[in-house]
Each structure stands twice: as C-alpha cells, then as structure tokens.
Subunit: 337 residues, 2 copies
C-alpha cells in the first residue's frame, strides 16, 4: 500500500528510518539482526540455546499520550519502554525493535524527528536495533505499534503463573509517580516540565534488574507494572490461581515534582505506566535490598485463598480490587470499576 500523505513521502521516510536505525545498530557476532529495514521481512538470529520473546504494544494519540502534554521525545521514549519493560518482565534480553508508525498528513516533520530521537536514544542505551516496521498515513492522530523481540535461555522465562502460596511479593523502585504526573496534567490542564517528572515522561525499563534476578534464579513469578500495581498483581494471581495480601505501609510510594512530595497511596496502588517490576519469590529466598542500583521492597505475601487484600498497620483488612487507571480517556471514564 503506497502512502502519499506522510510529512515525508514514504520511500524517503523509510530511507530516513533506515539511516537512523543503521546509526543505532549494534552488531553482534552470533546473534541479532542479520538483515534489517529494506526487505519484506527482517532476519534475526536468536542466540544458541535461547528462545525468542515477542511483545507488541500500541501507543495511540489520545489513548496513550496527548501531543499537547507529551513532548515528541517522551512519546518515542515511552513507546519503546512499553516493549522493553515486557521483555524485562520475562527476565529476557532485548534484541531488536520494529516500529509500525502511521502519521497524520499535517504533522510537522520536527515532531517525527523528536519522536524518533527519543525512541532511538533509548534503543541505543539498551543496545536494541530498530530492525523494521511499517509506515502508513493515519486517518487520525499519531498511531504507533512497537514490537520488541528478545531472547531468553530455553526454559528460563519468568512467567506470571509461577507464584505459590507463601511466596513473598516484591516491587522494584517506587510506584505511583507516573499516575501522579497524569493527575497534575488533568487538574492543571497544561503541560509539565518533563525533567521534574521522569517517572512519567522518561521511565526506565528494568532490564538490568531483571537480568540479575534471572541469572540468580531467585524469582518465582514476575510482571511489569504497566496497568497499576493492583491490576498487575491480579494478573499474577489469576495466572497462578492464588490470592495475595499487601501490607499497606510497605508499598513504596513515589516522590515526585519540585519540591518532592510523596504520592497518595491510591496512586501507588492503582496508578499505571510505572514500568517497575512486581515479582514473587519463595519465602526462604534471600532478596537483596538493592539490585542493579534499584531498591527492592517486600510488600506482601501470596495466599492460597483467592482474592486480594490490603492489610493496614492496625491489622484491618480490606479487599484490594484491580483498579488500574486509564490515563487519557475522557475523565469520567478514567477509573476502572
């Protein structure tokens, strides 16, 4: 399908993406991208003894970001983070990324350049080559779909289904920082300085943490926090057919803004897009306080009894419902019920 109405004609856009990708290319001796952009398919070599990991994630204007709130570099960064974070959640190593990108006809070229520079800077940091994708004219706003291909030693993928009753529950870093920034965007209805809110605009995928956890074989189940702690914990519970209880005061709420302030518990429990890791380990496993420079916090326990509960400091228990936030829909629909 030929596309005429891109800011840059499609052939030129593909050529630009190709040059940009080449500059970002990381050649590997026995693995990686054998043939990238410029043919019907990309050819990739998965390292011997490894399986391939594949994840796909939309970044749609008006759903996952707003052009008036998110600088293009942040949109490009966040687009790739979504895929890298999924690779981390399996304990994997990213190999290559594929970008499907549909652009509206009136989009300024500077926006596309900013988006690509944000995406490619993160790709370079994690040695991920942009190896292909698709381009199209968009009938509406910017539409991106990122595919990340990674590798994992055979049989070593860390699944959501590995939790067992008695497992301790851990979270990396701090949670709620991204949702708190979104709350400010909604209430102030104007843009924020991205530098003051990195958890939202430039989150770090926990690839390095996941590598250590995988290599030390200390994790039983894992997921990344993209929908919100409560919702992502419910995915582990569903897949492992277990329940969970979370100690309210143990939850590491993020501190954001200038001056720094701690975000509300509700945001820490239900705010999405943190890209921290949520994992469980057997009760006797010793989990370090810090992994790859990132604090690890024990926040609760997996239970045989189904359902999720929040335990307050005074011992009172209340049901913890999966209530991840939907960020950029109309405000009346922001909370999932």
């Amino acid at each position: 399908m030929i596309v005429l109405v891109l800011p840059v004609p499609e052939r030129k856009l593909v050529s630009r993406l190709r040059q940009a990708a080449r500059r970002s290319a990381v050649r590997r001796a026995r693995a990686g991208v054998i043939a990238g952009i410029g043919d019907d398919c990309s050819i990739l070599r998965v390292p011997a003894g490894h399986d391939a990991l594949v994840t796909t994630d939309f970044s749609l204007e008006g759903v996952h970001f707003r052009r008036e709130w998110h600088p293009p570099k942040s949109v490009g960064h966040r687009c790739l983070v979504r895929g890298l974070s999924d690779i981390a959640a399996m304990g994997g190593e990213p190999l290559a990324a594929f970008l499907s990108l549909a652009l509206p006809s009136k989009l300024p070229q500077t926006w596309v350049d900013g988006f690509m520079s944000g995406l490619l800077a993160l790709a370079k940091k994690f040695k991920v080559e942009l190896a292909g994708g698709d381009t199209a004219a968009s009938p509406t706003g910017v539409l991106a779909d990122i595919v990340v291909l990674g590798s994992i030693p055979k049989g070593r993928g860390i699944l959501r289904s590995g939790a067992r009753p008695g497992d301790r529950i851990y979270v990396t870093g701090a949670v709620g920082g991204s949702a708190a920034a979104v709350d400010l965007l909604y209430s102030k209805h104007k843009s924020l300085n991205p530098v003051s809110f990195p958890a939202h605009f430039f989150p770090t995928p926990r690839i390095a943490v996941a590598r250590v956890l995988r290599e030390n074989r200390i994790v039983a189940s894992m997921i990344d926090i993209s929908d919100g702690l409560s919702t992502d914990l419910s995915h582990i519970c569903d897949e492992s057919r277990v329940g969970a209880q979370i100690n309210e005061q143990a939850v590491p709420s993020a501190r954001i803004g200038k001056p720094l302030r701690t975000v509300a518990l509700e945001l820490a429990l239900h705010g999405g897009d943190d890209y921290e890791l949520l994992f469980t380990a057997r009760p006797r496993t010793r989990i370090p306080k810090t992994v790859a420079g990132v604090p690890i916090t024990e926040i609760g326990e997996i239970t045989r009894r189904k359902g999720m509960f929040l335990v307050r400091e005074d011992g009172r228990r209340s049901e913890l419902r999966p209530s991840g936030w939907e960020h950029f829909a109309s405000s009346s629909r922001r909370r999932k019920r």
Copy 2:
C-alpha cells in the same frame, strides 16, 4: 493501560482471543509457540539451524479497508495475508502471528467476531498460531497491526537485493485483480460480492509456491506484490542496483468478476494488494510453468542499465514508472505520481 470502552471489556476480550487462539493452536515438537497469550511476552522457539523472520503490517480503517466495502471476515483475512505474504517473499515458513487491535467503542461485537473468524481461518490453513498482541480503545476506526514471525534456514532468506543483470523476471498467478475490484468499488460506490472477487477480498499468500522455490534454490531475488508490480519491481531494482525491462504482452493480467473479464494493463502493472510473488532467476535456471498449482510467467529481464522500461509487441520502449495505487485515500490522491 486499561481499556474500558471496547465492545467487550479488555480482560474478557483477551480471554476470548486466547480461547480462539488455543483452538487454532498447532503444537510442534521442537519449534513454535512455547507460551502464547497471557504473559508479558510470548515465548517462541525457532527451529535449530534457522533464523527468525519478522514482519509488521498495519490494517487501518479508511486507509487499508472500509467497513462499508469490506465484510469483517475479509478484513481479518486481508490483515493476516499482508504478514504471511511478506514471509513468503523471503522464502520462509510462518510460525506465529501477533495482533494489535484497537477498536472504537460503538463497534458491534458481531464485527469483531467476523474479523477474528476471517483471521483465524487463514491462520489455521497455514498452521500459524495467534500467539499474542495488544488491545486498546481506538480514538477513531478499527486499527490493526499484524506481526508475523517465521523461520528460514540460516543464510537462505531470499532478498530483494539478489538480482543481477541478465536475470529473468517472473510473476506468480495473475496481477491487477485486486485493484480492478477496488476500481469497481470506487466507481459503483457500493459493495461487491466478495465471492466473485476473491483476489481482492480473500487473496492467497503464496507460502506454498515460495517453499518450493526455496527448496529448489532457483530464485535470485524476490518480493511480494503488495504496492503494485511497477513499484515492487522498483524495490528489487533499487536494492540490487540494477534496471529492468518488462514485455508488455507477457504480463499475466487477472480475469475477474462475473462474467469474467481481463483487467486493464494499467491495473495489472500498477495495482496493489495482489500478494503474488515477483522474483528473478539466473538466465540458465529452468523455472517450471506451474509451482504448487500456481502458474509462473516470465515477464522480462533485469538490465545493467538503471531504470525500468516497458517493451511493446512492436518493440517500442517506454519508461515504466513505479506507480502503485493508494487504494482507499480520497480519490484525488489515489494515484502516486
């Protein structure tokens, strides 16, 4: 990111996709999908001695299809064909598909069911498992991005860059049938009976033909005809740094409709979405008249001199410009210049 406004709530949709995918699953002993829908990533095993092929293709409402013209089964079928055809163009075997699907809030559930049944019927036919993807609310029409992962014996991918001067140029099947149907859709401004126009509504990806060509090592370069013969031939010429001449009367124009009639040469040369294969082979290579039941036609020759030319029966030559059609944009923009 949690989505509320899908016809079916997201968790239920994912569960439905998962069940549908499981029913379509093809288990392989040493290759294929190790873990599919339901975790952060899918885990895939590429057969020993093979590399992975990856391709991504948008199917966007208003750009690649129109809901008033294309029944949902056709949209689902065509969505997956785009990916399978790219795998065929490399000489590869498809292993698994990943679907990112964003749906507008008011879309009838029957439409989603029809779309999935068209996609999964084709997946089953080619033993491709639906192994993952993403779902979201769409800010506009139906937005799909299909990723197909395939395999190719190491070093045996058939590239666009393999053509050499003197190579003969071949095409599978017939061309222009899909574009002719699109022409009728535009001129009549009403829907067609899909059964009478299978080349447009239910095209066949040439996986079986490509397998024979790869196994017999008789092809030098290959591409699938998705943008139109002239445009896709120009991709081979660009990547191989050669030119081409096409014998006008040799081009196998499709016969479509009821009663059958031969499509115009212009549609055969420039019409996209045929999903036939365009390939070159060394002049001494014997290419069968039929491969896997599909006719193969010699249509021209690769030249050292750059540029593409059309040679008429009387020997007159004219320049052949890459002029693939853009199908569903506003009609003033339909032709690429």
